[in-house]
């Protein structure tokens, strides 16, 4: 997983999966890296091939811990069609902006 930020915008990428195996580490690493001045959090899911409820739970924890998205732009970038189906099934698309290139 790669995390980059310029204090204003943070990008998380190279996430092969978000599941029981790595969701806790993902959440803790991203949470720890969030700068206080953050305005936009981009989670690049273009390389993510598997997500389960633990992974969605980690994303939801980020949403909660960043003030329920208040004032902060939370974006999921380029999720694969099947992962987008899971996001919609759980209504997470109401919490995150979904962007495709």
């Amino acid at each position: 997983m790669k995390i980059k930020h310029d204090g204003y915008r943070m990008s998380v990428s190279h996430i092969p999966e978000l599941s029981t195996v790595n969701s806790t580490a993902f959440r803790e690493e991203v949470q720890a890296a969030i700068p206080p001045t953050l305005h936009t959090l981009d989670i690049d899911m273009s390389q993510t091939h598997f997500v389960d409820s633990s992974g969605l739970g980690a994303l939801f924890s980020l949403y909660r811990n960043t003030g329920n998205g208040g004032g902060l732009k939370l974006r999921l970038l380029n999720p694969a069609p099947d992962i987008l189906q899971l996001i919609e099934l759980t209504q997470m698309h109401h919490l995150f902006e979904i962007n495709h290139d």
Binding site: D52, G57, M92
Partner: protein, 279 residues
């Protein structure tokens, strides 16, 4: 033999539908395509039918038996049978026992009486064909106990629907279905027999297969949900849902596609929190 029914074999556009059974046996408003065709032929006065089933013929034979259920004389031919009979000493499988060509050869890629509505060209056509079949299926005399509880919404025997659930026509609810409180069903929904829709779930423009569990607060939209398989009929995207509490089969021995999430996974709390966030 006056009629030959040819069962479709390979339809790549809807390949996932045939995952568990041949296309003619896929559940379709409480029955299957083959049931509807045999009933139709009986209504037309047919007494003997030959079925050519190259895909999983043993399942077809198990379903139709000898045809006595319909008062028909039935013969199911598979690939092996047709190969053998193509030898010179045997008759052609598309001719009758008397060596006379049949009066009708039907490829069962549409519902009887709806030749202009193809079933297997895409998931979109499958969905549209099933929706258009609802008025015909609801009015057959063998649907004992089926009631139209409001215009365009019919419910089968022993189904339990919460008074707070919202039902929007057109909507078909099969037998022994459970719909939980505050669930939204329809428009454009088929819940097959023994489906379970949890409280607060929303199902629109979708088909939920038999014995399929739709979890609390989930959103099934423009999809075919069967067991843990979710097909978006619009985008053709397929997902095997990994967590049984979201979408799963109620049949025993059909677990989720991957190891289920821990019981105390964060999404368990997410499931309870989302309505408040969205409210």
């Amino acid at each position: 033999m006056k009629t030959i029914l040819i069962c479709p074999v390979h339809r790549p556009a809807v390949a996932r539908l045939a995952q568990n059974e041949p296309l003619v046996l896929v559940p379709l408003l409480g029955k299957c395509l083959l049931d509807y065709w045999l009933e139709h032929l009986v209504d037309q006065g047919e007494r003997a039918v030959r079925i050519i089933a190259l895909d999983r013929p043993e399942q077809v034979r198990a379903r139709v038996g000898d045809g006595s259920r319909w008062g028909l004389r039935l013969e199911v031919l598979s690939f092996d049978d047709t190969s053998t009979r193509s030898a010179p000493e045997h008759q052609n499988p598309t001719t009758s026992n008397e060596g006379v060509p049949p009066e009708h050869v039907i490829i069962t890629d549409h519902l009887p009486g709806l030749p202009g509505v193809p079933l297997f060209e895409s998931y979109v056509t499958w969905f549209e064909a099933l929706l258009s079949w609802i008025p015909f299926a609801a009015n057959t005399p063998d649907r004992i106990g089926r009631k139209e509880i409001k215009p365009g919404v019919t419910v089968g025997l022993h189904s339990r629907i919460s008074p707070s659930a919202q039902l929007h026509a057109p909507c078909w609810i099969g037998d022994n279905v459970v719909v939980g409180s505050d669930a939204i069903i329809g428009p454009g929904v088929i819940l097959e027999d023994r489906a379970f829709v949890g409280p607060g779930a929303s199902v629109t423009q979708s088909i939920v297969g038999p014995e399929t569990f739709v979890g609390e607060m989930t959103l099934v939209e423009r999809s075919l949900a069967c067991g843990h398989l979710l097909i978006n009929w619009k985008t053709r995207s397929c997902l095997e849902v990994p967590d049984a509490f979201l979408l799963s089969s109620l049949r025993t021995g059909q677990p989720a596609s991957r190891t289920p999430a821990r019981v105390n996974s964060p999404l368990v709390s997410l499931r309870n929190l989302i309505p408040r966030q969205l409210g």
